[in-house]
């Protein structure tokens, strides 16, 4: 399952996608939990009883601001969450 967390508003689309098929049985030892400086990731049991990561609810509505530190306007080459997630489950839409 591809779970998209975030929002679209007048300023743009801000979604973090988590591919739960790659997240189940994580081979990166849940590195996303500590990699994110804002600690936005959390492990939950989803509706199909799988243990997967998601974005904490309050962060889903403030992603553009929460991720700003990792995305400086001068540009960036990598993001801590995506680098830590070696199975490649995490993607950003912006």
């Amino acid at each position: 399952m591809i779970a998209n967390y975030g929002y679209k508003d007048g300023s743009g689309e801000y979604y973090i996608s988590i591919d739960t098929d790659k997240c189940i049985g994580c081979t990166a030892d849940r590195a996303c939990l500590t990699a994110c400086p804002k600690q936005m990731f959390e492990i939950i049991t989803d509706d199909y009883d799988d243990e997967v990561a998601w974005i904490k609810k309050p962060n889903c509505r403030t992603l553009a601001y929460d991720c700003a530190d990792c995305k400086p306007s001068g540009g960036y080459t990598s993001l801590p969450c995506m680098t830590a997630c070696t199975p490649g489950a995490i993607k950003h839409s912006w």
Partner: protein, 300 residues
């Protein structure tokens, strides 16, 4: 001075144009007393609450009503309404699943499941196993969901940060135009020529813009059409983010508004699947079906 003082005229009774039809329905052809498994799904949404009864895996009855200011009471009232209609008691129900915005506040629920999974399961029941893309236009959020032939979610996204493209936005326009909400859709087609969508993406600004259009000489129908077009464009952009597959199904209250549905279909080039079941109960129906599966597993 001998001024005559007269009482101020009483304010006219305020009509609630936004108020949509609340429904209670029970399938009179079935007898729940002979059933092996009775389950219930309660969807406590931000605007409406539904209680659905499923008897041996089949839809038996439902109650759809407005959510009050207290989620547990809304859940109780919704369930009580349908139980009263068929003479059932809470003890007769084997499994209750709560869903929606207030799912954790359903005091008698055995389990809480997200509305995303429940809408997919409900749409699968209502539209058949050909349903692949679901658009849920709820009271205060909008969800785009992909599911497989069993109604299991494969991709989803949700927008609950802004009320544009939601039922609440339509209620605001209904009140502003002073036209009952059920008439907005049909009236949006009663225009001479196509109109451009209201440009604002925010409900509050869209309301101001609609007022401006009225002052500029637009008819009410043209303003409604401009708003329906804006809602359609808004949700289509959401749908396009996850892609639209054949087997397109719309749930939620806005599915009853042809002014929005027809415009979405036109923008996507796909016709939404038809159903005879109230589109507003999809989440609660899915919750009750999840309950049926869980109870059947438990009983096996």
């Amino acid at each position: 001075m001998n001024a005559e003082v007269t009482a101020a005229p009483t304010a006219p009774e305020k009509k609630e144009f936004w108020r949509w039809q609340e429904n209670v329905w029970v399938d009179e052809t079935k007898d729940w007393k002979t059933a092996k498994i009775i389950t219930c799904g309660i969807d406590v949404g931000s605007v409406s609450s539904q209680a659905v009864l499923v008897v041996d895996g089949e839809l038996y009855g439902y109650n759809s009503m407005r959510t009050g200011n207290n989620s547990p009471d809304s859940a109780k009232n919704a369930l009580q309404g349908v139980m009263d209609k068929c003479g059932m008691k809470l003890e007769d129900i084997h499994f209750v699943v709560g869903t929606g915005y207030g799912r954790v506040n359903v005091p008698f629920a055995h389990k809480a499941i997200t509305e995303i999974a429940c809408h997919a399961r409900g749409a699968n029941y209502m539209g058949g196993n050909g349903v692949r893309t679901i658009l849920d236009m709820g009271g205060q959020d909008c969800k785009a969901i992909h599911c497989d032939e069993k109604g299991k979610v494969t991709n989803f996204l949700m927008n609950d940060k802004c009320a544009a493209g939601t039922g609440r936005g339509m209620e605001v326009i209904s009140d502003l135009m002073q036209i009952p909400i059920a008439e907005l859709g049909p009236r949006s087609f009663d225009i001479d020529s196509d109109v451009e969508a209201v440009s604002s993406v925010c409900v509050v600004f869209a309301k101001s813009e609609a007022l401006g259009l009225l002052k500029a000489g637009y008819t009410k129908n043209k303003v409604i059409a401009a708003y329906c077009q804006a809602m359609a464009e808004r949700v289509v952009s959401l749908l396009e983010r996850i892609g639209v597959e054949e087997g397109f199904f719309i749930t939620g209250g806005i599915a009853k508004n042809p002014g929005v549905v027809k415009r979405i279909e036109k923008l996507l080039g796909i016709k939404a699947m038809d159903t005879k079941i109230d589109s507003q109960i999809a989440g609660a129906l899915g919750a009750a079906l999840f309950g049926y599966t869980l109870q059947a597993k438990k009983a096996a």
